[in-house]
């Protein structure tokens, strides 16, 4: 597909795996399509966090600290009204709320949080979760 020999492509991938440029391989799952067991449901929330910066490290130490929680799926330093934008998942809305109120907002230098629960995912990381577009072509055309 790339026009390169198979051996060359394998070698390039192996090199990137060794160097950590390729971290790991993941499945892209549409969780709304996996609905058999209601107890397996996952709740996702975007949480904006306002922090007090510290001399020498800015926000980096706090970002690293928050990222250590398993509940936290992503952490970005962002411009705008808040400092960090995090993605947090939990089994239930209650579990996510507890995480925010008990763990996140109680950390020193966390000044405020704003939680936005995800209601439906349409697109994530470039993958669309809406139905594919129909092929409207006639079966045989000139």
């Amino acid at each position: 597909m790339t026009g390169l020999p198979v051996a060359e492509v394998s070698e390039a991938i192996a090199t990137w795996e060794r160097s950590g440029a390729i971290r790991r391989y993941k499945a892209v799952v549409d969780w709304d399509a996996v609905d058999e067991d209601p107890t397996s449901e996952t709740v996702t929330a975007f949480i904006d966090v306002s922090l007090a910066p510290a001399r020498g490290v800015g926000f980096d130490d706090m970002a690293a600290r928050i990222a250590r929680f398993d509940e936290v799926r992503s952490v970005h330093l962002v411009s705008g009204g808040h400092d960090l934008r995090c993605t947090v998942t939990g089994r239930t809305i209650r579990a996510v709320s507890d995480f925010v109120s008990q763990k996140l907002s109680t950390i020193d230098r966390v000044q405020a949080t704003a939680t936005h629960f995800v209601l439906k995912t349409y697109k994530r990381d470039g993958d669309s979760f809406t139905p594919p577009e129909q092929d409207h072509r006639l079966p045989v055309t000139p």
């Binding site: 597909m1 079966p139 055309t141 000139p142």
Partner: protein
């Protein structure tokens, strides 16, 4: 009742239609018979069309088409191929290349003028010549030559009534790209015999290894060349119906004259979408081209592996394998393949006598479907090669 138009009545219906009718009644058909992209028009272009409708751009435009669109078309030709055409006077927006071809032939031909049409070629070429009062004169090309047009064969067909040569490159149905030398030889012939050249370059951006030679840029060609192009293939905009003619002013002017009395203008909304196609990001087009190339390589390799000799298709999105090893003619091959394995291909014979012994397979189809089609064709070949 009095007789209807004899020329039109004498023109047989397209051989493709019969296969459409059979395929339309079957389930689970993998169609390699589709002459259009399987991609939907890129979103930013569709969005421009929606915007145009929302804001009421539902009127006629000037006959020649939106000035902005003509500027973009000429600028694109200049930057891509070095072709120089004036947006005002040498460029006309048409309702697809189909209208462009019709206008061109009506403007070039007087009754009884002959047009040389190398075949196998797009199914509409010869009928359009006839509808314009001309006489199509087919000349063969050979798959052993990669369907390159042989100037000697063309020269032998030139007579006192010959007016033009009509050629499509990259070509439907063969996927062949005419080598520069073959086109240069045609230009020399045209100069010697004072012929027009009509160049259908609708697939110009879909070339994979050789690049595209724009006929209008060859030495001596510009003054006698009518260039036809459009948005249907590279921008996946078949249903919008937008194309263009670029030609020397005397030809372009008369094309506008026919267009203003027959079509008035290409659809306004489609023209605005085409403006976005040329002025917006080109990424989606490049992704589509790369995808066609990937499928092309997988599919052609697959055809060869199951024993079908396939000339390398260097453009468009068609493979034109030889099915002579099956012992069947192309019509029988295509019909039996459709009925027994539910794979629709188009018999090469519908594109001219030189297409006999081939079938046209469009690889504008998702890769997994192409792979399944190859498995089915393989099964079909094994069965027909078995005891009979």
């Amino acid at each position: 009742m009095k007789e209807l138009n004899g020329v039109i009545a004498a023109c047989p219906p397209s051989g493709i239609r019969r296969f459409f009718d059979i395929a339309a009644e079957m389930d689970d058909v993998i169609s390699l018979g589709v002459g259009e992209p399987d991609f939907v028009t890129p979103w930013h272009v569709r969005e421009a069309g929606i915007y145009a409708l929302e804001h009421g751009y539902t009127t006629y435009t000037s006959n020649a088409g939106l000035p902005r669109l003509r500027e973009l078309i000429c600028a694109d030709l200049a930057s891509r191929y070095g072709a120089t055409y004036e947006p005002d006077g040498e460029c006309l927006v048409t309702t697809g290349v189909s209208e462009g071809l019709d206008l061109t032939l009506r403007v070039l031909l007087n009754p009884g003028d002959e047009v040389i049409v190398p075949e196998p070629c797009y199914v509409a070429y010869a009928p359009c010549v006839a509808f314009a009062g001309g006489i199509p004169v087919s000349v063969p090309t050979r798959w052993e030559d990669g369907f390159a047009v042989d100037a000697d064969v063309v020269a032998a067909a030139i007579g006192p009534r010959t007016k033009a040569i009509l050629i499509g490159s990259p070509a439907n149905p063969t996927g062949a790209v005419q080598p520069r030398a073959a086109l240069e030889a045609l230009v020399r012939l045209a100069e010697q015999h004072d012929l027009y050249l009509v160049s259908d370059e609708i697939y110009s951006r879909l070339t994979y290894s050789s690049g595209h030679t724009c006929l209008g840029t060859l030495p001596g060609a510009r003054e006698r060349t009518v260039l036809l192009g459009g948005f249907s293939k590279a921008h996946a905009m078949t249903g919008w119906r937008v194309g263009w003619i670029c030609a020397p002013a005397p030809v372009a002017e008369l094309c506008v004259r026919v267009h203003q009395y027959t079509m008035l203008c290409a659809p306004h909304v489609s023209q605005l979408a085409a403006v976005e196609a040329l002025s917006g990001p080109d990424d989606a087009v490049q992704v589509m081209i790369a995808d066609y190339d990937r499928r092309r390589r997988v599919f052609v390799k697959g055809l060869r592996e199951i024993g079908l000799d396939c000339p390398e298709p260097e453009g468009a999105f068609y493979a034109f394998p030889s099915i002579r090893s099956s012992g069947l003619d192309s019509e029988t091959f295509a019909e039996q393949l459709l009925r027994t394995e539910r794979v629709a291909v188009v018999p090469g014979s519908v594109f001219g006598p030189s297409g006999e012994g081939h079938v046209r397979c469009s690889y504008a189809t998702a890769l997994p479907l192409l792979e399944e089609a190859l498995r089915r064709i393989d099964r079909f070949l094994r069965r027909s090669a078995g005891p009979r």
